[in-house]
């Protein structure tokens, strides 16, 4: 079974069909990039994978566990799925260190000393060990986003979801965040990332998924998808972006 297995998923907000017949498998160690216009359902799909949004039809499994079941333990599931949002969402009243150690100590019952060692380790991976005692509002957007990635990494998830995590950043700060993502990809982290950085998607992703009007319109290896789009929708999307 694939690490993430999405089968025939449908999702509505009221009368609005937001996801339609979505099927997607992600193997361990794969990196999947999701692209598409604003409003095409990319964020919703990610949020369904960690159970933040319920689905109306179909099934989603992560690491063999059904996400959308009546008896699903979402608390346990979410320890396997990390998610990083466009707006960082760090906890403003806590230091960088506490932002990172909170979930390991409270959810996984790590001893504080172990959680601190872990915080140092994940901050090293994102290159921010020196900011361990800062508060979020003392950091730049790029630094905050790297802390958010570190916070998620500290839960040692099996798969990480990234929702346009560079879109809110000033252009000169995007690079430092993408560098962290590339590093994680090299380490073999399974990830699904929604992005507008086409060059990055091409470099890092094993597979690119183009979403349009709530459907997976086209998908395939990046070279093929970008070089010879099969549908006029993808063609015009790529032209608009490049």
């Amino acid at each position: 079974m694939s690490l993430v297995q999405i089968e025939k998923v449908y999702k509505k907000f009221g009368d609005l069909q937001v996801l339609e017949d979505i099927s997607l498998n992600v193997e361990e160690g794969q990196q999947i990039a999701i692209i598409g216009r604003s409003g095409s359902g990319k964020s919703t799909l990610l949020r369904c994978i960690n159970g933040l949004e319920p689905i109306n039809q179909g099934n989603i499994h992560v690491d063999g566990d059904l996400v959308n079941g009546q008896k699903t333990n979402l608390k346990l599931l979410r320890q396997k799925v990390g998610i990083v949002f466009q707006s960082y969402n760090l906890f403003p009243h806590l230091t960088v260190e506490r932002n990172i150690t909170l979930a390991p100590t409270v959810v996984k019952k790590f001893a504080l000393a172990d959680a601190r060692a872990l915080a140092h380790e994940v901050l090293r991976q994102v290159g921010l060990e020196d900011k361990i005692d800062s508060y979020p509002d003392q950091l730049s957007g790029g630094q905050q986003q790297r802390v958010a990635i570190a916070r998620s990494l500290a839960m040692q998830p099996k798969v990480m979801l990234f929702d346009e995590i560079t879109s809110a950043l000033d252009p000169e700060l995007i690079g430092e965040v993408l560098k962290v993502l590339e590093y994680l990809a090299q380490q073999g982290m399974t990830m699904i990332l929604v992005t507008h950085e086409m060059g990055f998607a091409q470099r890092v992703a094993d597979r690119v998924v183009f979403m349009h009007e709530g459907r997976i319109w086209e998908s395939g290896p990046p070279e093929q998808l970008f070089a010879s789009p099969e549908t006029p929708e993808l063609d015009s999307f790529i032209r608009a972006i490049l």
Binding site: Q79, F85, S87, F91, R151
Partner: protein
Amino acid sequence: MLLRDFGHGDILLLIYATRWTIALSLIAFAGGGLFGFAFTILRILPIRLLNYLSSAYIQIIQGTPLLLQLFVVFFGLAILGWDVSAWTAAAVALIAYTSAFLAEIWRGCIQAIPKPQWEASSSLGLGIFQLLWYVIMPQAIKISIPPTVGFLVQVIKGTALTSVIGFVELTRTAQLINNVTLEPFAVYSVIAVIYFSLCFPLTSLSRRLERRLNVSSAN
């Protein structure tokens, strides 16, 4: 009836009666805070039935005058065969009143914390109580201080209403003294000063706390 002049003895009597106003206020703060917190949580947990019950309680208390609540507890329970003292009735009614308003104030503060904070913490695997305790409430407390203190000042002044069920606190004592001195200006000026000296420290403490909390998170 014998009239006498308003003198030092009367001022002492008033200061003495202030004890009851303070005691009632403290009971209302403590009991109202405790139950108010419980009703806040019931209002917020993702359990419909509890939300409705808690919200019904809050609406009923908020929608009726404190005076009426005092009557209901004092005379209503007596009719049902429960003999309650003025003390008990005053305490019960003030706690009910305070808890409903605090619950509503606190619910508002908790729900004012942006949705992404809830989503980020639940995405990390925190359960509802964990995320409330570690993430939401520390942020909510900061914004809850001014409205909470503002309301507690109302409660201090509201304790005067307990005189209608025979409770002799500060305002009632002032009325009694006025009856025998006929010097309303002097009598009521003194209790105005006393009420002010009870309420003013609270509001200035609130301002100081607010400033300190702002400093510690925003640096």
